[in-house]
Amino acid sequence: MSDLQGLARRIHEACGSNLQKLYTQEDLIPFAPNGDSEDLLLAINVLLQRGYIKILKQGDAFVYQFLSKDTVDRTRNLTPDEALVYQHIESSAREGVWSKILKTRTNLHPTVLTRCLKTLENHRYIKSIKSVKFPTRKIYMLWDLTPTIEVTGGPWFTDAELDADFINALLVAIERFVTSRSFPKQRPGSTSIIPFEAGYTGYPTLSDITQWVKNSNLTEVELSEADIKALLEVLIYDGKLERVIGGTAYKAVRRVEGAVKQGVTEAPCGRCPVFDLCNEDGPINAANCVYFEKWLAEI
């Protein structure tokens, strides 16, 4: 029996170091003393009883997941109610679980549930997180887990809030980078920006840009090509970049000071706050308009 304890400890020590890995029966066979699978099974049973191991189903086969000693100790000290709540939260993994769902699943009285959650939170076993999709819901997950992208909203979100400053900083940086690759270096003495010849292929591609962002120390956040693409889309919608070479590369839109002719928007009427009320026979008209007055003063 003592041998069995020893075997169980040995197995746990060997496999418990990698808590993410799932072990099949075959994986554990090497631990069986003298190839005796009987003893092995007994040892696994011991681990199961003590909660150091969990059986999961993967396809048709059963696999084992090892739990750390901490985790085991944690649950051991919980009240049955707390343990129940803990188990439900644990099973929700990185998605987290909404307090309302928790209530229906555990069937606990609200005050009991609240007390349980509080205790668990105080012990730093669980935490409440904010979801991008449901900003008003209270969602719980285990303390040491990181929420999934669906919950956090991806790299653009900080605490389930869109991080506008972060996004803008990236937009500006990327625009600058693409602009620097879109036009040749100005010749000395020349003030105008000249274009690359037709058929030029040096404009940066999505992977060029992603690579540049990665190497640029702009952010610690890992940004995928899809993330960079989303930023590039926004820059295109802003009229700052455009796709070239059949959509495979990006180029800055040439912008020249004063080249864009304005019309109505530089007249007083163009942005007039009372334009709709302006009428020749009304109290607001062209003759008594103070905006025209000021506009004309700038001659």
Binding site: G270, R271, C272, D276, L277, V290, Y291
Partner: protein, 257 residues
């Protein structure tokens, strides 16, 4: 009511929201403001990018063209009703009569040849008094029955508003040049502020003028200054004094019959 509220705030709540925007779901960020506001709420007035030299030439040509029409036989200015003249602005002095441009209350038509088939028959007698008198279609058919009638041709003013330059200094001097051009802004402004009285003006004119011609309307017009109030060089004078119509347009010196 988020939109309506937003607009109310912006527009000062003065009857804004006439076409009520759609109801917006969820939280409302803009609170309606139904308080009284100024007639002209403050806003940043846009700045006009200074006109380019090309644009200034376009403007100059536009003004010039309009000026030519104003000096011509087709432009009409309706007089003010008697008794409503501004005692200071409208006082008729000798010099005013002598030097001010004549104003036409009705267009002067009888001076040029027409392509009659382009006009409806009911207007023919208006276009040519000899047709009116005789109903003689031959006047119309050969188109140029009246040999004395001639199109009025004017020369083009090709001055550039700023000599092609674009600095302020030359602008200032160019303004002077422009003045020397035939810049004759007329009494149109007066018209704008006296719309109500025009009916009567016309009525008067109808009474005093029953012969189908526009003689007698241009009361102001008794100067015979050859240079007229237009630049005489602008027009090509055939020197052929017109007996029939000389009375009423001799002063103009510009439009010939």
């Amino acid at each position: 009511m988020a939109f309506r509220g937003g607009r109310g705030g912006f527009r000062g709540g003065r009857g804004g929201g006439s076409n009520g925007g759609p109801m917006m779901p969820r939280e409302f960020d803009v609170k309606p403001d139904f308080g009284p506001t100024e007639q002209f709420p403050d806003y940043t007035i846009p700045f006009q990018d200074p006109l380019t030299s090309t644009e200034r030439v376009h403007v100059a040509r536009f003004r010039d063209h309009r000026e030519k029409v104003h000096s011509g036989p087709l432009y009409t200015v309706l007089g003010k009703r008697k008794g409503l003249e501004d005692p200071f602005a409208d006082v008729v002095t000798y010099s005013a009569k002598k030097y001010h441009r004549q104003k036409r209350k009705v267009p002067k038509l009888d001076s040029r040849p027409y392509v009659f088939e382009f006009f409806p028959v009911e207007l023919w007698e208006t276009m040519d008094s000899s047709y009116a008198a005789t109903g003689d279609r031959s006047v119309v058919i050969n188109g140029r029955g009246d040999r004395r009638k001639r199109l009025l041709i004017s020369s083009l003013n090709t001055d550039l508003p700023n000599g092609g330059h674009h600095d302020d200094k030359s602008d200032a001097s160019d303004e002077e040049d422009e003045e020397k051009e035939r810049e004759k802004k007329s009494v149109l402004a007066k018209l704008m502020s006296h719309k109500d009285e025009e009916d009567d003006g016309l009525g008067d004119e109808e009474e005093e003028d029953g012969d189908g011609e526009d003689e007698g309307e241009e009361e102001d017009d008794y100067q015979d200054d050859e240079d007229g109030d237009y630049n005489a060089e602008q027009y090509f004078d055939d020197g052929d004094g017109d007996v029939d119509y000389g009375d009423d347009d001799g002063g103009g010196g510009a439009w010939f019959d």
